[in-house]
């Protein structure tokens, strides 16, 4: 067991930190923030990603052959930490394009697909979205009904996808589609790469409880997809989608999130230290302190859980149900953190926006946190995975 970093890893961290200091605008995270308008923010995030790429900080642990940096998994973890430490903008294409599509293609794509798609994911020239869920296939993902019928050298796709983040900005989509309705539901699925500019695709924004419209529903109406844009075999899509989900819940993602939760927690503690109520500081309230202690501990454990998983992979283990343990833990712990934040803000917690303490960031985060236990596999699905695949309980 060793929490120290090698000279090469430390050098990586130092180089990244100094690059970030130059690349981010002066006053970033203190007086300068992301645009408030959602479309402007999307463009801003995409510009940031392209800046990262130009600086050589994209595709950190991807092979050099496809335009990556060829760094180690530990350096990938350092990257997540440093980006969050600098409060660097979240990417637009990082979550789906880099973390999901890239990693899936690296494992299951043909050489031609890797050559065609990976460099443009790394450069963020092409933005991706994820077409998995449907109105009647949420937790029961294998029930997707969107049909893909083979006609000549094309698949013809018809159906509907939902909860598609960033579809309005996406150039490409990974889609889980039904290619054989006659067989067992898991055995009739395929994994397609669909160009979002193809005729027949309609996108409608969905408004979330936070008031934002990050995600959408998508309609496919006789959409033509070249046959070579299938990943893996026809009817072999389920296993590939499972790879995608393992990466969606992986420690790289969890570490980046952890650092952002840690920043919000530090911001909360600083806010409460100067917030006065009933003639004293809120931070001195012993009941609030007990709850804060729990969140401080849990945010630290999020980091430790992710580092344990990364260490497992470094020691030769493969990704398994450990990602479900990690996701189940951080999602519920983060919700408790924001519940505690609003509780600590006390009588004025209902205020919104600029009238609220700390500009309303905790109220917005509290609303956003409700999605954590639902997306990328609801808590109930994670518990099934842990129960059946890790503990060996009967189905």
């Amino acid at each position: 067991m060793d929490f120290s970093y090698s000279p090469a890893e430390t050098e990586f961290r130092t180089a990244l930190r100094s690059w970030l200091a130059d690349a981010l605008p002066t006053g970033w995270g203190e007086t300068v923030f992301e645009p408030k308008d959602e479309d402007e923010r999307a463009r801003f995030r995409l510009d940031w990603e392209r800046k990262l790429h130009a600086g050589g900080w994209s595709g950190i642990n991807w092979p050099r052959a496809y335009g990556g940096r060829g760094a180690t998994l530990v350096e990938r973890a350092i990257f997540a930490e440093e980006m969050a430490r600098a409060r660097a903008p979240e990417g637009l294409n990082i979550i789906v394009g880099h973390n999901l599509v890239g990693t899936t293609l690296l494992r299951h794509g043909t050489e031609a697909q890797k050559q065609r798609f990976l460099p443009k994911i790394i450069s963020s020239e092409e933005v991706w979205c994820q077409g998995f869920s449907e109105p009647n296939a949420g937790s029961d993902l294998a029930s997707v009904r969107t049909r893909a019928e083979r006609r000549g050298d094309k698949f013809i796709v018809n159906g509907q996808k939902i909860w598609t983040s960033f579809a309005q900005y996406a150039d490409w989509c990974i889609a889980l589609v039904r290619t054989d309705p006659e067989v067992r539901k898991h055995a009739g699925l395929s994994f397609l790469l669909i160009n979002m500019k193809t005729p027949g695709i309609t996108i409608r924004p969905l408004r979330q409880i936070s008031g934002e419209s990050e995600f959408n529903e998508m309609f496919f109406d006789d959409v033509q997809v070249p046959a070579e844009n299938i990943v893996g075999e026809v009817n072999g899509g389920w296993a590939i989608a499972m790879t995608t989900l393992a990466f969606e819940r992986g420690p790289e993602d969890a570490l980046g999130r952890q650092m952002r939760f840690k920043q919000e927690l530090d911001e909360l503690l600083t806010t409460l230290a100067s917030l006065k109520r009933d003639g004293g500081h809120v931070i001195d309230d012993p009941i609030i302190r007990q709850k804060l202690a729990k969140s401080i501990t849990e945010v630290e454990i999020m980091r430790l859980n992710a580092l344990r998983s990364i260490s497992r992979y470094l020691n030769g283990e493969d990704r398994g149900p450990d990602v479900s343990l990690m996701k189940l833990f951080w999602s519920h712990a983060a919700q408790r953190l924001y519940d505690t934040a609003l509780e600590a803000l006390g009588p004025l917690a209902p205020l919104w926006g600029s009238a609220a303490t700390a500009g309303g960031r905790f109220q917005l985060s509290w609303l956003q946190s409700k999605a954590f236990t639902i997306y990328s596999g609801s808590s109930e699905i994670q518990r099934n995975i842990i129960g059946e695949r890790m503990l060996g309980l009967p189905r």
């Binding site: 501990t297 344990r308 260490s311 497992r312 343990l325 833990f329 518990r383």
Partner: protein
């Protein structure tokens, strides 16, 4: 960066687990405090007490992090708490003992010849070593200590007390004049708790630990003990999770194994998440105190508070999933429940450590206003 254990560390954990499994009385339903007498000798024979002793003093010269999985096995195997008291005392002597104590005591501790009991709690006091009523005045120690595991069998008593208004550590012969021990009834009689009455016990200056900075020796003992207890608690939690999952696979109701029902499966999954999270906190604390990392007091506090909560939750759920059987004496789950509860309340329970976590976090985050949050 590697947050994993190596082969030696894992095999040490397995060895201790197997050794304890060979003594069925340890986990038997009946509460016999004497059932574990042989265990101390067995653990000494396998070299457990030599692990933390430097090679120059006849030991193996390992660090606390090397013992993490062994400590977890001690917890899961319901080894008596007196065992980890000796381990914590070993660390105290290695770190804060003077040359004479190290040379004379450590080889005998390594061989199992000397056992050490740690006395902290007092009537009317909390966990804070600063507030103990017992004191050393004019070379004499007077006070009452409660819930001291293994005091009757111990050769040495490591006593957290006060001298000149400051906390200090006295390491005394358990058979010194003025020392009287008596068994205390407790939730877990197998923890072998004693009350220790100290009446004008002679304390020579060379019996004190910590030299010029006795407070640091006391703080270190508290952090090490909290971490060792966290490790023991995780051993219990992992054992309870295992037993529960195995039961859910074979217990049939409504025509199927109850583990197939999500009401049961999801409880088990939540237990597994809690065990994973608690182990993360405990293992990190072992590393932090072994390496004297600057955040080690906070890491120890987090581990003790969090693992106490995890063990409580997992034990409660284990009994619930076992249903009526779980509540019977014969099944013996109450042994783990009782042990987890007494460990949870030793060396600081959750609320006490939580306050330390917040104080340490604020002190690091907002240093200029540091003093405002110092623990009284």
């Amino acid at each position: 960066m590697n947050f994993g254990f190596d082969g030696t560390q894992r095999s040490l954990g397995d060895t201790v687990a197997r050794l304890l499994q060979s003594v069925p009385a340890l986990t038997a339903p009946d509460l016999d405090p004497r059932q574990s007498d042989r265990v101390y000798e067995m653990l000494a024979e396998c070299g457990l007490f030599a692990l933390l002793v430097p090679e120059s003093c006849g030991g193996t010269g390992l660090s606390l992090v090397d013992t993490a999985l062994a400590v977890e096995s001690l917890g899961g195997g319901l080894a008596p708490p007196a065992v980890i008291a000796t381990l914590a005392a070993t660390d105290a002597i290695v770190r804060h003992g003077h040359e004479g104590q190290r040379r004379e005591l450590l080889p005998k501790i390594a061989s199992g010849e000397l056992r050490v009991a740690i006395a902290l709690l007092e009537p009317g006091c909390g966990y804070d070593p600063h507030t103990m009523k017992s004191t050393i005045a004019n070379g004499r120690l007077t006070g009452r200590k409660l819930l001291v595991p293994g005091a009757a069998e111990a050769d040495l008593l490591l006593i957290v007390t006060g001298s000149g208004g400051k906390p200090t550590l006295a390491l005394l012969d358990a058979r010194s004049g003025g020392v009287a021990t008596q068994v205390q009834e407790s939730l877990d009689p197998t923890a072998d708790f004693h009350e220790v009455v100290l009446k004008n016990v002679a304390v020579r200056p060379e019996s004190l630990l910590g030299g010029a900075s006795p407070e640091r020796a006391v703080e270190r003992l508290m952090d090490v003990s909290a971490t060792l207890h966290a490790g023991m608690l995780m051993g219990i939690a992992a054992q309870m999770l295992h037993k529960t999952v195995e039961y859910a696979k074979i217990r049939v109701q409504f025509g199927q194994a109850i583990g197939a029902f999500q009401a049961i499966k999801h409880r088990c999954a939540d237990m597994a998440v809690a065990v994973e999270a608690g182990q993360s906190a405990a293992y990190y604390a072992f590393w932090a105190i072994a390496e004297d990392s600057s955040d080690s007091p906070r890491a120890a506090a987090m581990a003790k508070s969090y693992c106490g909560e995890v063990a409580r939750m997992v034990c409660n759920e284990a009994i619930q999933v076992h249903g009526g059987m779980g509540f019977t004496w014969e099944l013996g789950l109450h042994r783990y429940l009782r042990r987890a509860k007494v460990l949870e309340h030793a060396f600081g329970e959750g609320a006490w450590h939580n306050e330390r976590i917040v104080a340490a976090t604020l002190a690091a985050l907002i240093p200029e206003t540091n003093r405002q949050w110092e623990v009284a």
